[in-house]
Structures are given as C-alpha cells and as structure tokens.
Assembly symmetry: C3
Homo-oligomer: 244 residues x 3
C-alpha cells in the first residue's frame, strides 16, 4: 500500500514540466526515505535525478519499496488538470498495475480522481559518486535561464569559465558572431536550456564544475529535496574544425 | 427599416466568439421582440439559440420581421475592429441585400462604418418545447470551462452525474486513465468545451439535464437574454467496445 | 576607430524590430553627425530612413565615415540578448570586417560581447528632396497602429482622406464589406501595417500627404532623431476591376 499526500501539489506539476521534455518514460521509486526518479535522456547525454524526501509530504505511507513506470507526457497532461493550490495524493495498492492521483481543492469543494496504467520500464540505477568540484557557482535561476536562452539562440555549445572575478558564458554561432572563448570543455546549449525548465522550482541554481566530471545543475526544492541535471561535455566533431 | 443601437457593443463581439466555431453561416432574425438566432452546427449534433431582447438596446426599430443571413466568421472579423467600449449600431434598409454596422467610440471621436453583403441561407426554425428537467446545476462559468478543458484533454466523452451531494464529471481516455463512470448518457467533450466559448458573457452557467432530453447549457446575457446550447447524448459505437 | 555608446540601448532593439521585416540587409552609415540607415524594402515599394544623431549618444567617436553592412535579422536576434536597461556600445576598428556589440547591465554586473561579421551590400543613397505636403496629420501612434491592423484584416488598400473635419481611413475587402471611399490614391495596408512596428519608439506618429508624393509616416525618436517610412501610392491593377 502506497499513499503519499503532498499539500503543495503544484511542486509535482513543476517537476514534470522540468523533466518531461528530456525523458519520455521513467520509473518513480518510492521507499521509506522518499519519492525519487533517476533517468537518462533518450540520447544518453544527460541524467536527471529527482528526490522528494518523505518528510516533505503531509502524509507518507510506503509499506515496501516500489518502482512505478510512467509515461511522463501523460503524467504531465493529467497533472495539468490539478489546480495550482490543489493537494495531490498518489495512491497504489500492492501488486496493482495502476496508480491513482487524487486532486483536492483547498476548500474540499472539488475532488478529481485519475487512474493511470503503470508501465514496465527497463532502467538501471546509476550510482553517482560524491565528487569534489573545482568551482561551484550559485546564481539566480532566472538569470541563468535567460543566459541559456540567449546563448542557445546563437550557438550550439556553451563554455562556462569560472575565475575569482566571476563566471563567463561563451558561445560561437554560424551567423558570424561569437563571444570570448576560453578553451574549456564545451557543453550543449540545448541541454542547458532544457534544464532551465526547472526554474519555477527554485529562485537559485547551483552549477558545479570540474574539468573531468559532468557539470551538475541543481535546483533545490524547498524543504523537500532537489532536482539535479548532469551533463557530460560535448565531444567536438574534429572535422568541423577543418572547414575553411 | 431596421436600426438597432447597442451601447454595450462588445456583447455582440462575445456572442460571435461563442458561436462562430460551431456555426458557419446563420440567419439573424429581427422582430419587435428582439434580435435572435437559431442554428444547428454543421454536424447537426448541437443547436445554438441566442436571444437579445429589444429592451436591452438603447434604440430598437424594426418595422417588419427580417431574417439576415450572415457568414459568422466574416462578421466576427469585422466586429474585431470595434473597440471594447464602442457603441454598435446595426442598420438595414427594407429590401436591401446589405447590412451596415457602425462603431462609435464612447467620446464620439472615432466612427467606423462597415457594409456587409447578406446571404441567402436555408434554415428551418425548430420549435423547442418547454421541458421539465430532472436536474439543474448552476455553477461558476469559469469553473465549468476549466472542467470541460481538462476533460477534453483526456477523453472524448463526458458523463455528468448529479446527486443530492453534488455534480460529478467523468471521462475515460486512451492514455490509460479514467475517472469514475456512473453509467449515464455520455456527451461529447469537444462540444461541451466549445460551448464554454460563451464564458465571457456570464459569470454563471446553468446546465439542465434529463435522461431523455438533450442537455441544455445556458449563459444568461445580463438584462438582455441568453445564449443556449443544446446537445444530444453521444451514441456510443458498439463495435468500439468489442476491441480486445 | 568607431565607438558609439548608447545608454538607452533598447532604442536600438526597437529600431531593429521596426525595420527587420521590411528590409533584410542594409548599410548602417556612421559619420560625425550620426548613425543612419536608408534602405528600400525588397519589392522597392517602401523606403526606410533612420537617423540617430550623434548628440543622442553618451559617447560618440567616429574618426572617418564608415558604412557597415549587416543582416538585420541576425542583428535583431543578437539585440534580443540585450536586457531592456542595458547600455549598448558599438565598436569597430578601422578597416576591420567585423563589428562588436557590447551590452552592459546598468549595475555593471553583467557584460556581454558580440562580434558580428560585416557584409558588402550594394546600395545607392537616394536624395530625398524637402517637400511641401498638402496635409499633415499628427495622431497617437497606438491609435494609428490599431487602425492599420483593423484595415489590413479587411482590405488590401487604404485611402486616407484629410479634411478640415478630420481624417478618414477607408478600405474595401472581398468579404463583401467596405467603408466610404473618397477617390484618393490608395496605399497598401500591408505596408502601412508594417510601418506600425515602430510604434514603441514614439507615442505619436506624423503622416504627411500630398497628391503627387509618396506618403511619409514618421516616428520621432526622443531627442535623437527619427525613423521615416515613405510609401508610394498603389497602382491599381485595372483588370481586377473588370471582374464580374
């Protein structure tokens, strides 16, 4: 028996909006510690890790660990039917192949029930080792979103350079313009831009960088957990550089 | 000679927005009692009935009953040129094949005239008998619009069940989810959703239900009349139920 | 050496938005008097003339006259990356084939550099003689924009008639409607509508008319200059009138 009651139901809406363009189908894992998800995007370039700790739920009952496979687009579509102030309860019976989402308006005058079929999804859980990062940048998430949007309109890759003076984002585009290039490993602007869909979840974002490790873009979810995006550097196609 | 002066000209804009996606061409009927329209949608599933009573107009002159056939899309396009505070006057000479719409801004500093050709449209006026309904639901029109939008994103039909405790809207979709189904006659969510285009006309909507009759969705137009939508239950395709 | 520092950087954004749909590539001319542009649209029907006087810049250094060819769409795309309060500096070295745009946020905590390749664009500079106009109309630019939008949704040409009583805009469309036609030279509603993209630059617009001259639609740019659009009357295709 699983029953998770989340008063801030729109957190779940925001989480789905942040993830659904990156990942199509994914397993949500429930255990006594929390409700979590770990999934690679379809190109196996980026990894999403979500954790909503059990303490953040008003009521959290999870008798045994379950993994529930869901289509994130369908889940997002369904969550669109929840009001922004609605309380969301996730319910599943042991061994059942369905999950029920219940939306209650704050004054209890409206209740909606959605039953969704679960899917069997193969996935391996990657162990992400704790790492030491050379640079950690904390900045307003809205500003980061704006920078990613601007850069992605101009070039395909971004280079993030961190010095004691500040952080520099650089790109180079085929419309004949560029910004300063600092020779660091390039990251995909498309992915970075996609990660900023999590902006509504937190007013700040933390970017952790190390020359040998994937970059980590983390949005804290107030008093509940986090959503983290891991992105490996983009391997530049060498032949591209040979062009006249 | 016909001359109808409507101070709240944007009522007419809202009426057209509510009707134009359902009905392409229609006759507007003018008599001493008012300005009205009755039309079936192109699939002959839904019926729209509009009445704007003569008392609601600042000036209402209609020497003899006339029926003016108009293309509702063109009419809506033209009414988009009227400001929201504009006074709209509809004028037609006896026997003329054109109608003129005049838009005056409240301070009279802007006047626009539009002459539109009338069309010959075959239509029979259905007598709608007064009926006793088993259940009448009055609810905020914005909430009804939201429910119809949510339901139509999930399933094709809606079942409305009314009990002493409240009203329940249920749907069932192919993305593997459903809500409770109560065995009543199903209605098309697409049509219900389309009716909610009339939401700007009234803050409340009245839904009248009876097991043997079309459902009636009515929006009152303040001090002037109403717009009513009639929808017959959807005949379920039996073969659909046979699918594995 | 060229270095132009414009504190109101968003003026440049608005100018580009006003011009980019009309003109694809154009030369920006810099001299000691100011930063200017003159270009025909691709159909050679309308002419745009822009002037930003040197006094309007916080810093203006232009050692010798230069003409910088740019693709206006790329330039607009790049300027979208400037914040609305950003200070924009345009820099070019003598003989260089690139131009650099620098965006500084007001509190200097964000700086962006864009280097853009210049293009070779053939263009002849037309001398526009000073002319006496028979009628000059000054009106709120937002109202003019609304009128052009309304008219262009109905007909292809607009006739502007000016009398001592006021100004009248008339059009005639194929959906069977028309407004009063006063027998003056017709102008293209599409172009007139396009000119109104300059609306954010000024709260008033000045329309200068003469029966033998192109109409001039002018938006003043506060304390800096102007953007002017010249449009020749539309030659009516006589065969169109022969249609039954």
């Amino acid at each position: 028996m699983l029953e998770l009651r989340l008063v801030q139901g729109n957190l779940l809406k925001k989480v789905l909006e942040a993830v659904k363009d990156l990942v199509t189908d994914a397993n949500f894992d429930c255990s006594s510690t929390g409700f979590s998800l770990q999934a690679m995007d379809s190109s196996h370039v980026a990894l999403v890790a979500l954790l909503l700790r059990s303490e953040g739920f008003e009521h959290y009952r999870c008798d045994r660990n379950v993994s529930m496979g869901m289509n994130l687009n369908n889940m997002a579509k369904m969550l669109k039917c929840a009001g922004n102030d609605d309380i969301v309860t996730i319910k599943a019976d042991d061994g059942s192949d369905t999950v029920t989402f219940m939306f209650e308006s704050p004054n209890q005058d409206k209740i909606a029930d959605f039953e969704m079929k679960l899917m069997d999804i193969d996935s391996e859980h990657l162990g992400i080792p704790e790492a030491e990062y050379h640079a950690i940048v904390r900045m307003p998430s809205s500003e980061f979103a704006r920078i990613c949007k601007d850069l992605s309109s101009i070039g395909d890759t971004v280079v993030i350079s961190v010095t004691k003076e500040g952080v520099k984002f650089s790109t180079r585009g085929d419309i004949g313009m560029q910004t300063l290039f600092a020779g660091k490993t390039p990251l995909s602007t498309r992915y970075m831009n996609s990660f900023t869909k999590a902006t509504p979840l937190s007013s700040t974002v933390t970017i952790s960088l190390s020359s040998e490790l994937p970059v980590v873009v983390e949005y804290k979810i107030a008093e509940m957990g986090y959503i983290r995006f891991y992105l490996a550097p983009k391997i530049e196609d060498e032949e591209e550089d040979v062009k006249p």
